[in-house]
């Protein structure tokens, strides 16, 4: 990402740590006064995005997460080191869930990093 994000987190690229990331995301969203439903959507979206990037992640690599916090909306990007050039299957169920729950879903590759990002807006601010 070109500018500096508000919150950055690095975890081992293992599905066991996705729960930690989900919890962190929920905590951040609570600070932004998201409703419980929004938080639940966000949590699910993070889980699916992680599943998408972890599918092609190198074993022993890192899982990166960036959070861009603004009033009433949060942009999340998750990335994992991946030497395979496979892109997330946009027909997959996980991708469908992600696009249904969030907006501006982008999947991109930057060098070794393969990342998926999306935005969730608070239903109150809207």
């Amino acid at each position: 990402m070109s500018h500096s994000p508000d919150v950055e987190l690095r975890l081992p690229a293992e599905s066991a740590y996705v729960a930690v990331l989900r919890m962190t995301t929920a905590g951040l969203a609570a600070r932004l006064d998201f409703t419980l439903d929004d938080i639940e959507d966000l949590r699910m979206a993070v889980g699916e995005a992680c599943a998408l990037v972890l599918e092609h992640a190198d074993p022993g690599g890192d899982l990166h997460a960036w959070f861009d916090l603004s009033d009433g909306s949060i942009r999340v990007a998750v990335a994992a080191d991946s030497s395979s050039d496979a892109n997330p299957d946009e027909g997959s169920f996980g991708w469908q869930v992600l696009t249904a729950l969030t907006s501006d879903v982008v999947s991109r590759r930057e060098g070794q990093l393969h990342w998926v990002s999306f935005t969730v807006r608070s239903s109150i601010a809207a």
């Binding site: 599905s15 066991a16 996705v18 729960a19 919890m23 929920a26 905590g27 609570a30 600070r31 006064d33 998201f34 409703t35 419980l36 439903d37 929004d38 938080i39 949590r43 889980g47 699916e48 992680c50 599943a51 998408l52 599918e55 997959s92 169920f93 996980g94 869930v97 239903s123 109150i124």
Partner: protein, 304 residues
């Protein structure tokens, strides 16, 4: 969120009647009364043959099991047979707890442990039916499973209670606000901090948490993702149309060509096998097949 506290105060006797009925239903059209006195029904009007045999078999097996003269090998096979005989009872008990967040197979498994325990503890001299005795034990074992294993992660009582008050307040507040409340609003209502509310919500997810795409890394290590259990469009669905359009075309084929086609693609025979069956050379079969297929393809595209 499935309630980990199933409500259970069953009267064992109707359970028994029910289980026996389930077992008997396919063979016997008329099944006797299902009243709560089923346990003593041997005093009543004639029983169906199958019911009698289950009961009598169970009884005689227990007599043999408790007889000190019975050799050990025979005793263990009696025990096994008794357990097997009453498995439908376990299944019936386990089904009552379906859709409460635990797989039925697991419930059947713990229920079976309860059944084995009751076979070992049953006293044949008391004059009660075995199923009457076993049902509470089986149900008890299943209930205990819910109590001990209900939560994927053991959550402190304080958090379980917090979670309950959060979900109660969330319902009320959603009504009042016309949208779901924010953690801050809940915190204000409950008089706790936002962090505690988040903790309480997080604990609710401890019952079970999995992404749909996440692999199953459980002890059985089958590596199935939850996604595998979801339904999808049948792949063969696309072929339906083709098959339907092919049908009339195949019907128009000369009988020999049609026969070859059937043998090749429906019976899965090789060309040489077909050649033998029909009495021509394999080369000829190959030529005929090619010609027929080309013909079908052309007529199909013409129609399309």
């Amino acid at each position: 969120m499935p309630g980990p506290e199933p409500d259970l105060t069953p009267d064992p006797a109707p359970e028994l009647a029910h289980a026996l009925e389930l077992e008997n239903a396919p063979q016997i059209g008329t099944v006797t009364d299902t009243g709560p006195r089923e346990g003593r029904s041997h005093r009543r009007a004639p029983l169906t043959a199958r019911q009698l045999s289950t009961r009598e078999l169970s009884h005689s097996l227990f007599t043999e099991l408790t007889d000190p003269e019975t050799p050990d090998a025979r005793r263990s096979s009696c025990r096994e047979e008794l357990v097997r005989l009453h498995l439908p009872l376990v299944d019936h008990c386990a089904r009552r707890f379906m859709n409460r967040g635990e797989p039925l197979d697991d419930l059947v498994q713990v229920g079976t442990i309860g059944l084995i325990k009751s076979v070992d503890r049953f006293d044949n001299e008391r004059g009660v039916e075995f199923s009457t005795y076993a049902t509470p034990t089986i149900l008890g074992e299943i209930k205990r499973y819910f109590r001990d294993k209900g939560w994927a992660i053991r959550v402190p009582r304080r958090l379980q209670e917090l979670r309950m008050s959060i979900s109660a307040v969330t319902g009320d507040m959603s009504q009042d606000l016309g949208r779901s409340p924010t953690p801050r609003e809940i915190a204000e209502r409950l008089g706790v901090s936002v962090e505690e509310v988040m903790e309480g919500i997080e604990s609710a997810n401890a019952y079970s948490t999995l992404s749909l795409d996440a692999g199953d890394s459980g002890e059985d290590g089958q590596g199935n993702s939850m996604l595998d259990s979801l339904g999808m469009d049948d792949e063969a669905l696309a072929h339906v149309e083709i098959r339907e359009s092919l049908k009339p075309l195949i019907d128009q084929l000369p009988s020999r060509e049609k026969r070859i086609l059937m043998l090749r693609f429906f019976r899965g025979m090789t060309q040489s096998q077909i050649a033998e069956e029909i009495g021509v050379s394999q080369m000829h079969v190959s030529r005929l097949l090619n010609r027929t297929l080309a013909q079908l393809r052309t007529s199909l595209t013409e129609v399309g």
